[in-house]
Symmetry: C2
Subunit: 247 residues, 2 copies
């Protein structure tokens, strides 16, 4: 993958190689930025103020920078997603989980030209959500409940992308500790449960959830943290994910 792995033959070949000027598609990244607000899973939509789909709501996104394609190569796909995330939200990206959820390239998905879009899901902690400020070329940005967004006439093929993101998130939830990216560093059992409920759109028995939770403590996935969480009633113990070095 790096130039150092190339043979002498490769280097000689490359010094005379001129990329044929095939027609190429534009390549973009689209972001499904998710967080939990009022115990509901919400995503960030921007209202377009240019045709096509003017006034329609859309996922934030933008072009992947590719340099001149030869000597300068631009940014990686993940870097493009990070940059767009930062531009659209004003937030630092180092604490926000970004995961690729698929590539979308239907020939007519953008009426202007052929565009292949790499979609990323971004999980933002609710504590950061209030600091999000509109940026880029968006007229307005708004958090919208995912359930509602699925019924809206979003621009382009964005309903399909949002649907894929939800599917990805639900898959991850049962198989990993993805919920940590949607929680403050410490949290109560009920807070974690409400994240699960919001994502899966079901209600979960508190007692049974507690049992599954306590097994996560046995497995050293979660540990008790100092302090208690003040609630409307009996204060709850707070916990945190054990830091294993990987997000």
């Amino acid at each position: 993958m790096t130039r150092s792995q190339l043979t002498h033959e490769d280097k000689a070949f490359l010094s005379t190689y001129d990329p044929a000027t095939y027609e190429r598609p534009a390549v973009t990244v689209d972001l499904v930025i998710l967080t939990i607000l009022d115990d509901r899973l919400v995503l960030l939509l921007v209202q377009r103020n240019e045709p096509p789909y003017r006034k329609k709501w859309a996922l934030p996104g933008g072009f992947v920078r590719v340099g001149n394609g030869k000597s300068s190569r631009g940014e990686d796909l993940l870097e493009a997603a990070q940059r767009e995330l930062s531009e659209e939200t004003g937030l630092p990206t180092d604490d926000i989980l970004l995961a690729q959820i698929g590539a979308f390239g239907a020939p007519m998905r953008d009426p202007r030209m052929r565009v292949v879009s790499i979609a990323y899901a971004a999980l933002v902690r609710p504590t950061l959500a209030p600091f999000i400020q509109a940026g880029g070329d968006a007229a307005r940005t708004e958090w919208t409940a995912l359930n509602d967004a699925m019924k809206m006439p979003l621009a382009f093929d964005h309903p399909e992308i949002a649907s894929k993101a939800l599917q990805w998130l639900r898959d991850q939830l049962v198989r990993s500790s993805i919920a940590r990216s949607l929680l403050p560093p410490t949290f109560s059992i009920a807070e974690l449960r409400r994240v699960h409920e919001a994502i899966l759109d079901v209600s979960i028995d508190p007692g049974n959830f507690r049992k599954r939770f306590l097994r996560m403590i046995d497995d050293s996935v979660i540990e008790q943290a100092p302090g208690r969480r003040i609630t409307a009633s009996k204060p709850a113990s707070v916990y945190r994910f054990v830091d294993t070095g990987r997000s």
Copy 2:
């Protein structure tokens, strides 16, 4: 997504719109073509006969056709994958499962130019594998055990792509009846078990596997088929996946 959903404003805008000539990356599809041979999970590699990476083994793949990008738009990503699969193997694609497993776009992943590749996994029934013939610009094609391929110095970032495909396949195996794409229409319990063993690279207790299997019959995922499978010993009953209309 279709033109009919556009407003009059959109159509007026598009009639005068000229796509800016940003630099664009080339977009390709790469294929991880998998099957089971001799109870081992194998993938199809092609030996390159052009620089870069000449003589090195690589995944089959090729450019996505995009037409002129405006009036003619070319093919969808999945169509490109199907076309490449057909070109590389000579097989009809309608019986072969193709699933997108990720987009790879590291700036230097191809030393010639900036390339974004959409990777697909293809699951080929072992009964079809012998009919595969080398095609396209490949000097040689060869089935290679996945375990071996992971240790080979494959071209480009193809080790990463193959690894992602294996991860995808293992995930799917436990969550769906993906194995049906790697089996003949009817099969014995032992044949299905060996597919699982090959994919997960573990040995599975036949009795316990049988119990899980019988539950799939209770769930109407699998049903008994007429006939018996002649083995080295006691003939086994044969089964088939219940056709639910979706692959």
